[in-house]
Each structure stands twice: as C-alpha cells, then as structure tokens.
C-alpha cells in the first residue's frame, strides 16, 4: 500500500521528468534544424531524388493497385502514343497524328529508333498488339471502355511506323483515350496468359524513360533508374527512389525525402526561406454534397436544392476546414483552374435571406451521410449549423469511408458528402456525372451518384459535346452545359483543395503540372529535360 505522501512524492518526480521531456521537445521545435542547404547540383549528374513511397503494387499496367499513385509509377516505365504538358496533349511515341473519316479513324505516325529496355525496337506491331491484348485483358487504368464497350474496332498496321485505329463512333475524348494507353512489348506479353499473375522481371520492360531496378512489396520501396537508350528527352533525374515514410514532415525536414505536401499550418517554415520553394497544386481535388432524389422526392424541386446552395457557407468551409488552402467550387462543377471552366455561370454566394425566401417557411429534416475523416466531420457540422438557420434540420451520420462509399453506391442515403480527385479531367466527366440513364459506367469515382436526377437539356448537351471534334464548338457546348448545371443545382460542389507542394530547388526544381492533374510528382515531364 502506498501512503499519501508517497504518491505525491512519486508524482513530483514524474512531473519533473515530463517537464524536462516537454522542454526538450519544445527546444526541438524552436531550433531551426531544417536541412535545406543541399549542395547545388550544377550538372544534375547522377541526381538522386527521394520521394515518399509505400507499396502501390508492381508497376505493370495490370498489377499496380487501384488506389493511390501506383499508376504514375507504371507510367515512368511505359510510354504512350501521346503525353500531356501544361497545355494539352503533345506528341510522344507518335510524332504526329491525323483524325479521318468523320472521327472514326485515327492514324498515328511513330517515332523511329524507339527502343525497349531490353534493346529490341518498338514498331507498329507492338502498338497493335497492345490494344488487342487490352481487349482480352483489361488493364487497371482502362480508358478504352465507354458505355461498357471497348471503343476500338480494329487496328491496322500501315507500315512499320504508321498505325491506324478504327473506333466505334465519333467521340471527342477518343484521342486522349487511345493516346494515353501505355504501350507494352509484344515479344514479352504475347505468351502471357494471365497478366494478373505475371510478376516476372520482364513484366516491367517498357520503352519509357525509367527502368525499375528495385521493388519490395513489404517495405514499400521502388527504385527507378534512367534508361540510357531512351528515345525521348534526356532525363534530368538519374535515379528516383521511393522510400517508406512514417511522418512526412519529419522525414522531409530530416532530408529523408525531397518533397512534401504541406498543410497551411506549417507553411511559414518554408515560405520566405531560400532553401525551399512552395508551389500550389491545382484545385482538382474536392468535396461535394449529393442529393438522393429517389429517397427524398421533395429534392426533385429545384428551389429546395437552391436553398442548400444559398444556405451553406462555402467560403466558411474553405477558411475553417481547408484553413484557407482551397477555393469555393464552381456550381458548374469544372473548377476554376480547369481548361474549360466557364467563369460566367450563376454563382451562389452564401445568402441566408435568399435561402429563407426560397424555402418559404417550410421545414425539412435530412440525414447526412459522411465518412470518418476529421475534415468531413467538420464540414458536416458547419453545414448543419448554417442550414438550421434556414429551417433545414440535418442529422449527421458518420461511418468509415468504405462503408459510406458502399451505401452511396447502393443509393442507401438521403444526403452524402464525398471527397475525391479527378476534377481536372476531360470535361466529358460532366456527362459521366450529370447524364441520367439506366447504364452507369466508367472509370470515374463520380459516376452515377445522383439518384433520381433527370434533366433533358443537360442530357442533350452532354451527348452533344461528346460528338464535337472541333475545339471551339465543343468549348461552346461545355460552357453552356456548365451554365445549365449551375441553374439546376443537381448537387453542390463544396470546395476544391489546393495542396502546397514544397521542395528544395537547389537540389531539383524541374517540377511541373500537366493541365489536368493536381500533383507534380505524378507528371512524367517533371523528371525530363524541357525545351
């Protein structure tokens, strides 16, 4: 048994020990021990870049995982006919292309002297083989399926370096769909029966700028080395290493990794500091609030949906939840930085009075389904607070993310919040999301999540833009489509996040953003010489 004094005495010692411990921790925070002064690498010879790793699967088109950055690792090894830069699609394995026969034929002329990592030459034969193989064995990132069907009808070899695709219909998105599929070597894959079990070393022979030299699944590490006989622009980074990281901030400051996605709270450590450079990621990741009009038919009334649009303070969400690192989402869905964003559509600034007028004294209550991330919980609470002032009572139900996804997919919800990326993709995503039909399709996390919504005009425009190969005509339709969507409010895009990308420019500063993606580490051109 302990006597009272004893406990106090023990307590005191503990207090002193913890006090010392805390003090020393604080000292650690104050002391500016960030390692910024890497030696300036003038020639970038043998430059090794270290990035946050983790296991995302064996980087073949079939074995990288369905989530996470595995696909971009695969793309370092496998080139495609076209590539993306800041502005749009650019020639890559194909030096030029032509669209003929009213959009039903695509002819690509390949560069010569393209070598696979094992020294063999790439020809049109490999390209034809690739697309036929993908028909029989769909890769993870399969752009070739539209409305449940493979879009390629035939692939013809015109000569060793010219290839013709015949597609099933005229479609504005087909160039990107065909152009961005990774090309695989025929001499290796023609004998592979089950690509899902093909873990051999040959499986990662591609014609891309990097060769995979090391991968360990259980440790989550990858090592990519520049391919010396690469056909394209010279690699500026010689070796890319992905290493396991417990805490990214600690690892970045210790110099274990060279880039960091920083939260606004720690940004001042790196801003105005010569050793670091901060860039803003593109706002192509966001949260949206969706309505289930099948379960709650009163939501079919446009003016009730507008009550939500006016009654939710989206500016507040950006300030309080994203800590300022975000923008209020466009009601026409395509975010401000999107190539096809229409700035002149109806905006819904927070306006309690307007919302009250629209709801006209009625009262409603809804169940709001959310995941369990702290951010979603915050969003839901803020929405609940501001809508209660309008007369809408919200009951928040938080479940784990996978459960939420499952319930939304089944249509078992009234209102739900979902966060996902891909907001920068081809505007055909508007069709994916807003077109209402029986068949739901495709690769988009967004698709088919507006149960009960139907709008003739939106359907019409969504189908029209898909057929317009002329840039200006299509742009006009897309603008119009955003306008109608903004008037109809089929869902509420809440806000798009802007991540901060921090790196050490003295070590490497070739980071770039393609026009449609938010993160520079994923862009192949970030590692290559630019003109």
């Amino acid at each position: 048994m302990l006597n009272r004094k004893g406990i106090l005495m023990g307590n005191k010692n503990i207090l002193i020990i913890s006090f010392i411990l805390i003090l020393s921790l604080l000292a650690g925070c104050g002391q500016d021990n960030i390692q910024a002064n890497e030696k300036l690498n003038k020639n970038n010879d043998n430059l090794v870049i270290r990035l946050e790793g983790g296991d995302w699967g064996y980087p073949t088109p079939f074995l990288h995982y369905r989530r996470g950055p595995g696909a971009y690792k695969m793309k370092l090894i496998f080139d495609s006919l076209l590539e993306k830069d800041e502005k749009g699609l650019i020639p890559w394995l194909a030096k030029e292309w032509e669209i003929k026969n009213d959009g039903k034929e695509y002819i690509f002329k390949l560069n010569k002297n393209i070598k696979w990592h094992d020294g063999n030459k790439l020809t049109a034969d490999d390209v034809k083989f690739t697309f036929e193989y993908y028909k029989a064995h769909p890769p993870v990132w399969n752009n070739l399926i539209v409305n449940g069907k493979n879009i390629i009808e035939n692939v013809d070899i015109i000569d060793d370096y010219t290839i013709k695709f015949i597609v099933n219909e005229k479609n504005a998105t087909y160039l990107e769909r065909v152009g961005t599929m990774p090309i695989i070597p025929k001499h290796i894959w023609e004998n592979v029966k089950d690509p899902l079990k093909f873990y051999r070393e040959e499986a990662v022979i591609g014609c891309g700028p990097y060769k995979l030299t090391n991968y360990s699944r259980e440790q989550g590490i990858y090592k990519f080395k520049a391919f010396e006989n690469y056909w394209g622009p010279k690699q500026k980074v010689d070796v890319i290493e992905f290493v396991p990281v417990s805490d990214p901030i600690l690892a970045f400051e210790k110099g274990d990794i060279d880039t960091l996605m920083a939260s606004p709270d720690i940004l001042n450590r790196y801003e105005n500091n010569e050793g670091f450079k901060v860039t803003k990621n593109k706002p192509f990741w966001g949260y949206r609030l969706i309505f289930n009009m099948d379960n709650r038919p009163e939501l079919k009334d446009k003016s009730l949906r507008k009550v939500f649009a006016y009654g939710i303070n989206r500016d507040e969400l950006v300030q309080k939840v994203a800590r300022g690192a975000g923008i209020v989402a466009s009601m026409g869905y395509l975010p401000k930085a999107h190539k096809w964003y229409n700035p002149d559509i109806k905006k819904y600034n927070f306006d309690i009075e307007k919302a009250r007028k629209l709801i006209n004294g009625k009262e409603y209550s809804f169940k709001l389904l959310i995941g369990n991330s702290p951010k979603e919980v915050k969003i839901a609470e803020l929405i609940k607070l501001s809508l209660s002032k309008v007369g809408i009572n919200i009951e928040v139900k938080s479940v784990d993310n996978k459960t939420r996804d499952g319930l939304v997919k089944k249509g078992d919800f009234e209102l739900a919040i979902i966060g996902h990326g891909g907001w920068g993709r081809d505007p055909d995503l508007l069709r994916d999301m807003y077109y209402s039909s029986e068949t739901m399709e495709s690769n988009s996390p967004a698709s088919g999540s507006l149960p009960g919504f139907y709008n003739e005009k939106i359907n019409e425009l969504a189908l029209l833009q898909m057929k317009q190969l002329n840039f200006d005509e299509r742009k006009e339709t897309i603008y119009k489509l955003q306008e109608v969507i903004a008037q109809e409010v089929p869902q509420i895009p809440l806000f798009n996040t802007i991540g901060y990308f921090v790196f050490r420019p003295l070590k490497y500063d070739g980071w770039m953003y393609t026009y449609d993606h938010h993160y520079p580490e994923h862009c192949k051109l970030s590692y290559l010489e630019r003109k």
């Binding site: 023990g10 921790l25 699967g57 290493v243 396991p244 417990s246 600690l250 996978k402 459960t403 399709e441």
Partner: protein, 325 residues
C-alpha cells in the same frame, strides 16, 4: 491422465473453429465491398471497376455463391492450408503474409523478452524496497505508463529519438536499396531500424511484468525461508534475485505466454506509427479495402499464433508446477 488432455485439446479445437467462423462473418458484416471506391485521398487516384468487371471478379473469388457455400469452401480451404487469393494485392494471401510475418514475430518476441526481463528485475527491486521511495516512484511510473496508448508512446519516441536527436531512422525495417558487404553489416542495419519500435513495444508491456513480478516477489519475501536467509546475513542481491525471484518466476513465465495476444495487438499499432513492414500495416490496409481473403488470412494466422502460445503456457505450467499435474 488422458481425459484432461483430450478435454484440453477439444477446448482448443472448438476455440479455433469459433475464431474461424468469426473471421468469416465479421468482414462480411461490415458494409461496403472490395469493389467500390467512390472517395479517395488527396494524393491518390482511384480506378473503379465497371459493372462487368465486378461481376467477373465476384465470380472469380466466389463472392456470388450463397453465403453457406462460401463458408464451407472457406473452412475447407483454411483447413487444407489454403488461405485464398487477395483481391487488392493480386497474390496468394499466404505469400503476402509470409513476406511480413517475420518482421512482426521478431518484434513481438524480442520486445516481450526485453520487457519481461527488465519488468521482473524492476519488480523484484520494487518488492524488496516495498513502501520506500524507490518502490513508490517505480510503482507510480509503471502504473501510469501502462495506461498510455501504445501509438502515443510510439509517436513520442519517434519524435524524440528519430527526429530531434536523429539517433535512429524514422521509418522502415531496413535501409532502402542498401548493398551489404557482410552479413554482420545487414544485421546491424536491421537492429538499427528495430530499436525504436522494439523499445516502444517493450515500454508498453513492461508495466505488466513489473506488476506481476512485484506482487509475487512480495508474497515470497514474506515466507519463512527468506527470513532465514536474511538471518544468515546473505547479501541483498542474493536474497532478491536468487531466493525470491527464482521462486516467483512461475507466474511471470505464464504471463509471457499469455501476453502474446495483447503484444500482437500493440505491435499492429506500433508498426503503423513507424511504418514498420509487418502484419500491422497490412492488416490496416486489408480492413480498409475490405479484402476479405486477406483479412481472414491475417486473423487466422494471428489466432493460430496466440492459441499455440496459450497451449505452450498450459504445458509449461504443468512442467513448472507439480501441483497442476
């Protein structure tokens, strides 16, 4: 003599079946399925399955069959040693688990040994100096730390020794891409990465052993033969560690085997803090992706391990304590 053994064996078999059944049911009771991805993280992207693909995969993994058929298949497969094929990782569950299990098991064994050894040492000291200052400090300290969640201790240790003092690596189980010129070199590197997670896990469990050994040594110290030993003017060290601790060792040994269950639980959390390549990280992801075969596989292996340890503790108890047989 035979009856109790058969009874014990039956007990274990029934327990194992109950665990297998729970293993089968619990993942399937969780809403969501392995094929639905609507949301994703901020750096990631996700590719969803088309309806056609979902159907294909459900057939492939037998998820379309009636639940009873699935259960029977599962029991058959598990008993014949086949743990299934992971949906997310695209590989045999057994392969995935064997890659990682050594990391977890060595973490669990070594840290248990460390905490058992130092816990019982400190416990005996505490018992000998019962009611004195050193006992009170130790007692308070260990009672307090046994209440702190393991991941918090892990974070503190990670921050202090890894980031602030920069003495140890922040994550991983081995230096990536290192080429070793000797076997020793590799072992040293492994140990270097091993220290912080093992230290954390030992720290989490040391309180347990401390309390057990303190109690049993206190009990022994009140025995007559200890008074005799004291009367013979034997050295303190000899009385505590030879006469008392040796006789008090039996509950400690039992505790070692029984604690493996909780230690594995702690290891799962700590591996996540240090990004240590064991089963813990894998388990987190398996649950996150609703990868049924993988969840089942991991839990089956863990259950087997814990049951084996319990069995061992039963057997050793009998050996150590003649009264039980």
């Amino acid at each position: 003599m035979n009856k109790p053994i058969i009874g014990k064996a039956l007990e274990y078999i029934i327990t194992f079946f109950i665990i297998l059944t729970l293993n089968f049911m619990v993942p399937r009771l969780m809403p969501g399925d392995p094929f639905t991805f609507l949301s994703n993280d901020e750096v990631g992207v996700s590719f969803t399955f088309t309806e056609e693909e979902i159907k294909k995969y459900k057939d492939y993994y037998g998820l379309n069959k009636p639940i009873t058929t699935q259960y029977v298949d599962y029991l058959k497969n598990t008993l014949s040693g086949y743990l299934g094929y992971s949906i997310f990782y695209n590989d045999e569950v057994l392969n995935i688990i064997t890659e990682r299990i050594t990391w977890t098991i060595s973490l669990v064994f070594i840290s248990t040994l460390i905490s058992a050894f130092s816990g019982s040492l400190l416990g005996s000291i505490s018992a000998y100096y019962r009611h004195r200052k050193i006992d009170k400090v130790l007692y308070f300290f260990f009672v307090s730390i046994s209440q702190i969640p393991p991941f918090l201790i892990g974070l503190l240790i990670l921050y202090y020794f890894g980031a602030y003092l920069k003495l140890f690596p922040l994550s991983g189980g081995i230096t990536p891409f290192m080429e070793y010129n000797s076997y020793w070199h590799k072992i040293i590197d492994l140990a270097y990465h091993f220290i912080l997670p093992a230290l954390t896990l030992s720290f989490v469990n040391i309180g347990n052993f401390y309390l057990v050994s303190r109690n049993s040594v206190i009990e022994i110290l009140s025995k007559d033969y200890i008074t005799t030993a004291k009367a013979k003017a034997l050295k303190k060290r000899r009385i505590v560690f030879v006469h008392a601790l040796r006789n008090a060792i039996f509950p400690i040994v039992t505790r070692i085997f029984l604690s493996f269950g909780t230690v594995i639980g702690g290891a799962v959390l700590i591996e996540n803090v240090f990004n240590y390549p064991g089963l813990g990280l894998l388990m987190k992801e398996a649950v996150f992706y609703r990868d049924y075969p993988l969840i089942q596989g991991i839990f089956t292996i863990m259950a087997l391990f814990v049951l084996t340890m319990n069995l061992l503790s039963d057997l050793i108890n009998k050996k150590l304590d003649p009264r039980l047989s």
